[in-house]
Symmetry: C2
């Protein structure tokens, strides 16, 4: 990984006050950059943070990829982090936050050569309502879930406090049941993934609440994230799933072992930052699915503030 560090008083480090995107880079181009930019802008809006300029964002990405490519080649992973920037001690942000935008490019992770085995992890995911679906920097649940995995395992099934299926620790779950594809809703704490959105559109998948017992009906299952849009599940709650022959949609290709949507989705880094958030939402697969899943995905989903009944004197 390259790139500079964070100031000691960066709010990303102090409180996880920020967002990140994990970008798959192939021959120097970012896969589905439009989806990532739409999600990032939606997330910034929901957190009440300003938008960086598109030029700044793309310049940071370009620089990270260019610098890292000399060590790692032009196919790899770029992690983009946007935080609320530096500020004084305390939870409250400065009046005019100056975002920190940083990116680091590195090699692809080791690619699993066999289908995954998925069993529940002992760490319950509790999605904070106001943060639903966001790819924010508060990720201790996922860290503890990864730490809890038995030796040799890379993935596990995360459940919410009601015992419903949420996702894997590093990717979203899809399962096939009587020919239809399903994925859990975001209620339980899952991340509104860019590849999740792509699969929902591509497979016309249903968003279905799911207790683990329902997965006994699964005929096939996979996890998806930006690094690999298809990671087949071979064993689900201890039961072997026979149907792991290949991705359930045409056109995916394995790029350095990571399955990716059709190459047309590889946008040049010069992809313009859309002029408005609503344009970004309408123009991206991620945005269309987000709008379909919620009438107002860009508002903080918490109750209306109470009207103050007394004032501070």
């Amino acid at each position: 990984m390259n790139a500079a560090g964070f100031a000691v008083n960066d709010r990303g480090c102090a409180f996880g006050d920020g967002l990140f995107e994990t970008l798959f880079v192939h021959e120097g181009r970012v896969a589905r950059l439009d989806d990532h930019l739409a999600r990032l802008r939606c997330g910034l809006s929901r957190l009440g943070l300003p938008e960086p300029s598109g030029d700044q964002m793309l310049a940071v990405l370009d620089e990270a990829i260019k610098t890292g490519a000399s060590d790692h080649g032009t196919t790899g992973v770029c992690k983009l982090v946007v935080t609320a920037g530096s500020g004084p001690r305390g939870y409250r942000r400065p009046e005019q936050p100056a975002l920190t935008v940083t990116a680091a490019y590195g090699p692809l992770p080791p690619v699993p050569t066999e289908p995954l085995a998925l069993d529940p992890v002992p760490v319950i995911v509790e999605g904070v309502t106001a943060l639903r679906g966001l790819k924010h920097l508060n990720r201790l649940s996922q860290v503890l879930a990864q730490q809890s995995l038995p030796a040799g395992r890379r993935e596990g099934l995360m459940l919410d406090p009601a015992g419903r299926v949420v996702s894997g620790t590093m990717g979203n779950l899809f399962w096939r049941e009587r020919g239809d594809w399903h994925t859990p809703p975001l209620v339980g704490g899952a991340i509104a993934g860019t590849r999740r959105a792509w699969w929902i559109e591509t497979l016309d998948a249903r968003v279905t609440p799911c207790a683990p017992g329902r997965l006994a009906l699964a005929e096939a299952a996979f996890l998806c994230n930006a690094v690999s849009a298809w990671r087949p599940v071979g064993w689900l709650l201890g039961r072997a799933l026979p149907d792991v022959d290949g991705p359930p949609a045409d056109g995916l290709e394995s790029v350095a072992g990571c399955w990716q949507p059709p190459a047309g989705a590889m946008r040049p880094r010069q992809n313009p930052w859309p002029a408005t958030l609503s344009e970004a939402m309408a123009d991206s697969c991620w945005g269309r699915v987000a709008l379909a899943e919620s009438g107002a995905p860009c508002e903080v989903s918490c109750p209306t503030p109470p009207s103050p009944q007394s004032i501070e004197r």
Copy 2:
């Protein structure tokens, strides 16, 4: 604030994988350092992180206070941050995490000159079970709660998803009811505060679940944190509380406007790092209260891991 920054791949910045302590410093000495060290060690143990050496910790603290004092004087606030250190991309920690220990010293915050007004904020606190009580770096709920406060307000009342009272956004709540003092339990997402523990011992306070309606019975209330052990609440849910004459225990003194427990609790910075976690727990007010509140406060409070029913092949 002084001190160096974080590497771009520090897990504290990437995931909030770490803990912090906010230390009140008076004439170069840290208030109730034993409580803070006990809590920090308990938190590191619960997160599955190694312990830094006591020498390293105290050297970092000393250096931050010494450096900052030239700008800010010898009375102020020191923020100590311990993260899981640098690592590769991905939630899973390196096999042998090398902690990042950093501290920054700065001036005291503006001291409220009037009692606080407390009304519910619109951001629900959802305490992740495995993180209950920890002063971890995943603080987006508190950030959004602060951002939601009406103009001129500094504090609000945080509620959990069941509508129960949790705490203020920056401190724990105590209220007096028919002569007895009460504070909410940690279930809802409150931080196991060092001053909270001190007040529980000092006032023989009860740990009592509390819906907002119950606060109609409050005769007096205050918030507490490390910077000020007593911040009187003058208006609670719109109702004036008359009893704000002074702290409800003898011996507190106002140090630069911040109320602090008796001076005997000011430990020199050379306070030894206790030899063992259990010693740290037994020797500190915080540890005794933590042990009383939970039989096993240093274990990650999540279900036993399921035995793997299949292995990754």
